[in-house]
């Protein structure tokens, strides 16, 4: 044995080490590959030895070779061996190799789990460190799941060295195993306040990265980060935090307001450029998120722009580059502030560095206006001329075109100028962007009708000089332009001065050298030109010209008939035969022009690129439905004998069948779409395409060309675009003069009348009228096209799984798996919910389901116990608690439980939200929420425009801030409630599927789908209406429940939508209600009991807005009716009248119910308790599906489904004063019976009456 070791170490002396390998490679420059292959052979030998030192050395060399690009995956097992060495020097070599070579599909990784766990818990901090570092490179979902708990423990390690590494690797763990995020998050949050700055920075890094992807879940951390930002001195950390705020502010504008000041301070004080840059960037983001035009922030913008200017002027190219980059962000929202630095940016176009020039170009793109477009483009054209290097020149070219064509040619005032720019661009040598110019030419010529005559003339010249473009093979890209030229000349040939000449130019023999697709267009358009020539000559008695044209065609076309390109050949021979026939007719003096022209009649309109997609599906057409039912099982069984003749596909069980079919359907649909897209004969289902033909003769009535006589219509030869610049100048001057004249006139008019509409603002750039009244023909869209569909987030984005609400307290099921003996069936990867569903279909279905049901119940029971505990000590560390050990909860269940567990916690999340609100609103916020509610009641809906419209009331601003914050809170709450509702719906379906027993199709698909769409429901009902205004009320959509405060009564919030129905402005609306003993409108402090509430907005014609009013209610067992009036002023142009409308507010008992979920066992207990009085109700002739019925009760009466079994469901709701209401709904053949229990019989009776009413209405 000893001998062996000695032998091993002797061997080792002769082994190459890494240095030898590196030296060897350097010495074998000629035959490097061969040398390395011998080295690899040696390494393979070394790996076979038992000596770990030799192995480690070999692995070390492999790491180097891997870096050079050699595949070393064959040594994966050896790497694991070295990793598990007890000696640290070797271990780290192993881990290094693993971190470089392993990836998710390396199968030996699963062997490492225990080794890594051992290393993680090693007493040596470097062992742990190296394991953590390595793990961060090759962590897999399995490793993440198995080790998450160990790593989380390490986050509280005594050594900061370990802590910071553990914190950082958690990010990777979250990505691979999203379920770990919620359990681990509290601890991660703790680490933000770790005493060690390194750990702190690591935690900041991780949270920043998480928050950047799903910012909304991290809003509640803002105060903490704000504290860190103001206290930290570490620039690296500051940069991260500031970046994080940049991601958060779009969601919470108030945060932005709060940030501006510290950020501007930092901008002033910091000397670190990186920090300065980050601050500027975030300030920009903040300003973007704050609704634009806030006057008090212009200072911040100015500061940013100034700082950026300093960066741009700096001699350091890096700073210059970044300055331009940031400038382009400001440009998007505050173009004016950037435009004043146009000089600087134009200067950057001359920079030596191409990237800087490109950035400057980007900026120019946003800086153009109608005023300076020509000037900027002129500058760019100069750069095009002197630019060296085709890439930059091409970039310039595309930029010029981008700049000009942006937002539908918004800035172009003179299209003749633009066409001539395009023509000038064709002289660029060696550009690749011929097609771009061509498409611009086509686009402009088609869409700008007024320019066609000019465009055609220009194109004709281009065609005439085609040899200039095609002369050099190097310039090949540009010949695409001829495609456009030929098409334009052909299509709009009626504008041609001399069609014969152009025809001749198009049929020159040289054309045959052009690419095939261009030749094809030439041939086709030659035919169009020919038609035009014939038409032009028709009146003439002398038909020689027409005959010449025919002869020309007949002479030249054979060249194209011989073309190798199929398209050219086909078109040419067709047209040749046609012309020959025409010639015959001509010789017989037959008039043919009209018939020939009919070949090309009709106008082509541009069609929007998304038109096809936007065609709405006609009502009643289900594209996914079968046209012919697929053969059912029974049929195919019947037809079994037939299968003798044709081999049948193996039969699927039916549910499986549909699943496959769904995919298949989708595939076929895709294929069909493809086919249709490629099929030119497929007529798109756009109804307006027919309209085109109808309208074609009536083009005249479109208000077109109002030709400005300053611009000569035809410029001989190729016009230099500069001419236009000059002309434009002159024109504008003239216009300005004219305008002044007009203005004077207007002023006179004004004096005579109250011409309010003739607003003569000082001349802005937008006032520049285009030289041509150009109507840009808009692209065609199908009628009632659907609104644009937003691009969905990439479904493969791993961060999507991390969009998890972190404010919800943990449910018990959510804990990191702790090492334990796992039942084999539980060993499922947590992501495959689908397979799990699939297993439900197995024959064992029932038993497994039963098991699950039991499990559920058990868990529920445990949970209720737990919940009680939780109330006592909420912040107990969960993962320490080993009472419940459920290592691998399938996703479905854990989701469910988290939903169920939500309600008792919602109050605490609200608390968190309101914490944030409190932090965000600088104004003193009453500590008591009820007080806050009263403040809100004073003006529940500060309309968004309010601060703008009343800027002259500074004393109000503070007040307003509180209001707005309160308003936000409400909104959030509402949103939350909506979410809850949605969740509940899902929940209900869930139960429903469980209850429905075997064989429900929708379960098998893995998606929980509605069998039939629910009819839309709204809780808004008409309150009052007259010729001026319409009031809609939602019956107490939200109920504020002040828990433990029952004597005081509760509050009910009523949302009222005001809709202005007349053509006048409605203002000074006052809402007043005659209080009853039981219900009172909450009025601001200090106002009398009969004063009205001012509705906090005004209504322009046709606008509607929503206001909320808070009522205090004493007893809720009876429905209430309150009389009220709304007074308002109708303001017309010249007078205003007071109007009023009376209404009755109806508070149903239902409106006092809050949708509260309840689990079945709690429900059962409640029923058993015997405290409840019962009552029942029968509804006859209810003709709707059961789930609709349930949905209606849920929606209109605020119930939630506890359990549903077939056609029987139990439902639950709770009043704001804590009464339980339980329903048992059964249905059989149009009869619905509802047995109800409640601890307050009067309330119950009223609720049942209301339910009855709901169903009698439908």
């Amino acid at each position: 044995m000893a001998l062996k070791i000695v032998k091993g170490s002797i061997d080792r002396m002769f082994d190459k080490n890494l240095q030898d390998l590196v030296r060897g490679i350097r010495n074998h420059k000629e035959d490097e590959a061969k040398y390395i292959s011998t080295c690899i052979d040696e390494i393979k030998q070394e790996l076979k030895q038992d000596n770990i030192a030799v192995k480690a050395n070999a692995v070390c060399k492999l790491t180097y070779l891997q870096m050079l690009g050699y595949d070393v995956s064959w040594a994966a097992f050896n790497i694991v061996e070295v990793m598990s060495s007890s000696k640290f020097t070797y271990k780290r070599i192993g881990y290094l190799a693993a971190s470089q070579c392993f990836h998710e599909s390396t199968d030996v990784i699963m062997l490492t789990t225990n080794q890594i766990r051992k290393d993680l818990s090693s007493p040596n901090q470097y062992d742990t460190g190296v394991a953590l570092t390595g793990l961060s490179c090759f962590v897999t979902p399995d490793l993440a799941r198995d080790l998450a708990n160990d790593i989380m423990t390490l986050m509280s390690h005594t050594k900061p060295y370990i802590r910071k590494k553990a914190v950082l690797i958690m990010y990777k763990v979250f990505l691979k195993y999203p379920e770990s995020l919620r359990p681990a998050f509290p601890r991660l949050k703790e680490k933000l306040e770790d005493p060690d700055p390194g750990v702190q920075s690591a935690a900041v890094n991780v949270i920043c990265e998480l928050a950047r992807r799903n910012p909304k879940n991290y809003l509640s951390l803002a105060p903490l980060f704000f504290k860190l930002m103001t206290s930290s001195t570490n620039n690296w950390v500051l940069i991260k935090i500031i970046k994080l705020f940049g991601a958060l502010t779009p969601l919470e504008p108030r945060l932005g307001k709060k940030l501006i000041e510290p950020l501007t301070n930092l901008i002033h004080s910091t000397s670190a450029m990186s920090l300065l840059y980050e601050c500027v960037n975030t300030v920009i983001a903040v300003l973007i998120s704050l609704s634009s035009g806030m006057p008090n922030h212009s200072a911040s913008i100015q500061l940013c722009v100034q700082k950026l200017r300093i960066l741009i002027e700096d001699s350091d190219q890096n700073l210059k580059y970044l300055g331009l980059l940031a400038m382009s962000k400001i440009l998007k929202t505050h173009p004016k502030s950037v435009q004043s630095h146009k000089d600087l940016i134009l200067q950057c176009l001359d920079d030596k560095d191409e990237s800087i020039r490109l950035r400057a170009l980007d900026l120019l793109y946003g800086m153009v206006s109608k005023k300076n477009l020509m000037e900027i483009v002129k500058k760019l054209m100069l750069h095009v001329d002197k630019a060296e290097g085709t890439t930059y020149r091409d970039e310039l070219l595309t930029k010029i075109i981008d700049i000009c064509s942006q937002s539908n040619y918004q800035y172009i005032t003179n299209f003749e100028w633009y066409i001539s720019i395009l023509v000038e661009l064709t002289r660029l040598e060696g550009t690749r962007h011929g097609h771009l110019i061509a498409s611009q030419m086509l686009d402009v010529a088609i869409r700008v009708k007024a320019i066609r005559a000019f465009a055609v003339a220009q194109m004709a010249t281009l065609l005439d000089n085609a040899h200039l473009l095609t002369g050099n093979t190097q310039r090949n890209g540009i010949c695409e332009v001829l495609y456009a030229a030929a098409w334009i000349c052909g299509e709009f040939s009626e504008h041609l001065e001399n069609p014969m000449q152009t025809l001749e130019a198009m049929l020159r023999p040289k054309v045959a050298t052009l690419p095939g697709h261009i030749q094809a267009v030439y041939v086709q358009n030659a035919a169009k030109l020919f038609a035009t020539v014939l038409k032009g000559e028709e009146g003439n008695t002398d038909s020689t010209a027409a005959q010449e044209a025919s002869q020309l065609m007949i002479d030249r076309l054979p060249l194209f008939v011989q073309s190798a390109n199929l398209e050219v050949q086909e078109r040419a021979s067709c047209i040749l035969q046609l012309v020959k026939y025409i010639q015959k007719l001509q010789q017989k003096d037959v008039e043919v022009a009209e018939e020939v022209n009919a070949l090309f009649a009709g106008e082509l309109n541009p069609v929007a690129p998304k038109a096809q997609k936007k065609v709405p599906v006609p009502e009643g057409l289900d594209l996914d439905a079968w046209i012919n039912e697929p053969p059912s099982e029974s049929e195919s069984e019947d037809e079994q004998p037939k299968a003798i003749f044709a081999k049948e596909e193996p039969k699927h069980s039916r549910p499986r069948h549909t699943e496959v079919d769904e995919k298949e359907l989708a595939r076929r649909r895709e294929a069909r779409k493809q086919e249709q897209a490629n099929n030119p004969f497929y007529i798109k289902a756009s109804p307006s395409s027919q309209k085109v033909y109808q309208e074609a003769p009536g083009v005249e009535h479109i208000p077109v060309v109002q030709i400005d006589l300053n611009v000569p219509l035809k410029v001989p030869g190729l016009p230099m675009s500069d001419q236009y610049v000059k002309m434009e100048e002159e024109r504008r001057q003239k216009e300005r003069a004219e305008k002044k004249k007009k203005e004077k006139k207007k002023r006179k008019e004004k004096r005579s009348g109250r011409g309010k509409k003739h607003d003569s603002a000082p001349e802005s750039e937008e006032d520049i009228t285009p030289a041509h009244m150009v109507d840009i023909v808009t692209e065609e869209m199908p009628e009632n096209a659907l609104p644009s569909d937003d691009d969905e987030r990439d479904p493969t984005d791993p961060h999507k799984a991390l969009d998890i609400d972190l404010d919800k307290p943990l449910a018990d099921s959510e804990k990191l798996p702790v090492r334990s003996h796992r039942a084999a069936e539980a060993q499922k990867s947590p992501t495959d919910g689908e397979t799990e569903n699939a297993t439900l279909q197995e024959p064992k279905k029932k038993s497994s389901k039963e098991k699950r049901g039991k499990k559920d119940k058990e868990r529920d029971r445990k949970k209720s116990k737990e919940e009680k505990k939780k109330k006592k000590h909420k912040h107990e560390d969960k993962e320490e608690d080993l009472l419940v050990d459920q290592p691998d909860e399938p996703v479905l269940q854990s989701e469910e439980t988290s939903q169920v567990a939500e309600p008792p916690t919602s109050s605490s999340t609200n608390a968190e939200v309101s914490d944030l609100d409190f932090w965000l609103s600088n104004a003193p916020v009453p500590s008591n929420t009820q007080e806050a509610a009263t403040v809100a009641a004073a003006a529940p809906e500060p309309s968004v425009t309010a601060p703008d419209s009343e800027p002259d009331e500074p004393k109000d601003t503070e007040m307003e801030e509180t209001k707005s914050s309160k308003h936000k809170k409400k909104k959030q709450k509402k949103e939350k409630e909506e979410k809850e509702k949605k969740k509940k719906k899902k929940h209900h379906h869930h139960h429903h599927h469980h209850g429905d027993g075997a064989g429900e199709e929708s379960v098998q698909n893995g998606t929980v789908e509605e069998e039939e769409p629910l009819p839309p429901m709204s809780n808004y009902c008409l309150l009052a209406e007259n010729s001026y205004i319409k009031m809609m009320m939602e019956d107490a959509d939200e109920v504020y429940d002040i828990q433990g405060n029952l004597q005081d009564g509760s509050q009910v919030v009523v949302s009222v939508i005001f809709e202005n129905k007349c053509n006048s402005f409605l203002k000074s609306m006052e809402f007043n209600v005659l209080d009853s003993l039981n219900s009172k409108l909450q009025r601001p402090e200090g106002s009398g009991p009969h004063d009205g509430l001012v509705v906090p907005f005004q209504l322009p014609p046709g606008v509607s807005n929503e206001a909320r009013f808070v009522f205090t209610v004493q007893s809720i067992v009876m429905p209430q009716k309150l009389k009220g009036t709304l007074t308002f002023i109708v303001k017309n142009e010249d007078d205003s009248t007071h109007e009023k409308v009376d209404f009755k507010l109806h508070f149903t008992c239902t409106s006092y119910l809050i949708t509260t979920p309840c689990y079945s066992d709690a429900f059962a207990k409640l029923l058993e308790s015997g405290d409840l009085k019962s009552s029942s109700l029968r509804l006859e002739g209810v003709n709707m599906p059961f789930h609709h019925l349930l949905a209606r009760i849920c929606f209109h009466h605020h119930f939630s489904v506890v359990e549903r079994i077939d056609s029987c469901a139990s439902m639950y709701s709770r009043s704001i004063q804590g009464h339980h209401v339980c329903l048992l709904v059964k249905t059989s053949a149009q009869t619905v019976s509802i047995d109800a229990k409640c601890d307050e019989p009067t309330l119950l009776g009223n609720v049942l009456d209301e339910i009855k009413q709901t169903f009698s209405q439908c």
Binding site: Q66, L68, T133, I169, I239, K243, E278
Partner: protein, 158 residues
């Protein structure tokens, strides 16, 4: 987030590569080649940031050696630029006047330094002595068996 760190010499040979996002071996070579070409082709007067596909390259040149860092779009370029400087300073401190050969012959040490500074794409540590602490501890552990190679050094100008 940092996607990768490369050290390349002027001949385009990779001297160090570290990926923080899995990239296939075959694609690594191509990526490195393109990244290197991008950076090598740029002159002294040009800025150190290159936009490449969906990410950005930040590079710095030290004598014949380039350090190229690929970062996501959201990263602060200047801070990465400083990080590179910091990294090279740490190397310089450890190897006392670092050269290309030091990096080649002591690849594992360089990796340890890098791992101390950057972990899964995030900067963990920037303090020089704290970065070097584990490495010096490791060197002490490695019973001094390995001697530093006495090869001619080409100092990298900082």
């Amino acid at each position: 987030m940092i996607k990768f760190v490369l050290m390349v010499n002027q001949q385009g040979q990779t001297r160090l590569s570290k990926y923080y996002e899995p990239v296939e071996l075959s694609k690594r070579a191509a990526l490195e080649a393109v990244a290197v070409r991008c950076c090598l082709s740029r002159g002294k007067h040009q800025c150190s940031f290159v936009e490449y596909k969906d990410f950005k390259l930040v590079y710095r040149q030290y004598a014949a050696l380039y350090v190229v860092v690929g970062v996501t779009d959201s990263e602060n370029e200047l801070s990465i630029y400083e990080l590179i400087q910091n990294f090279v300073e740490v190397l310089d401190k450890y190897f006392s006047r670092v050269s290309e050969l030091d990096i080649m012959f002591n690849l594992d040490s360089v990796h340890i330094i890098l791992d101390e500074m950057i972990q899964n794409g995030h900067i963990v540590e920037t303090n020089k002595s704290r970065i070097l602490a584990p490495l010096t501890a490791i060197d002490k552990m490695a019973d001094g068996s390995e001697t530093t190679p006495d090869t001619p050094r080409f100092a990298i100008k900082l």
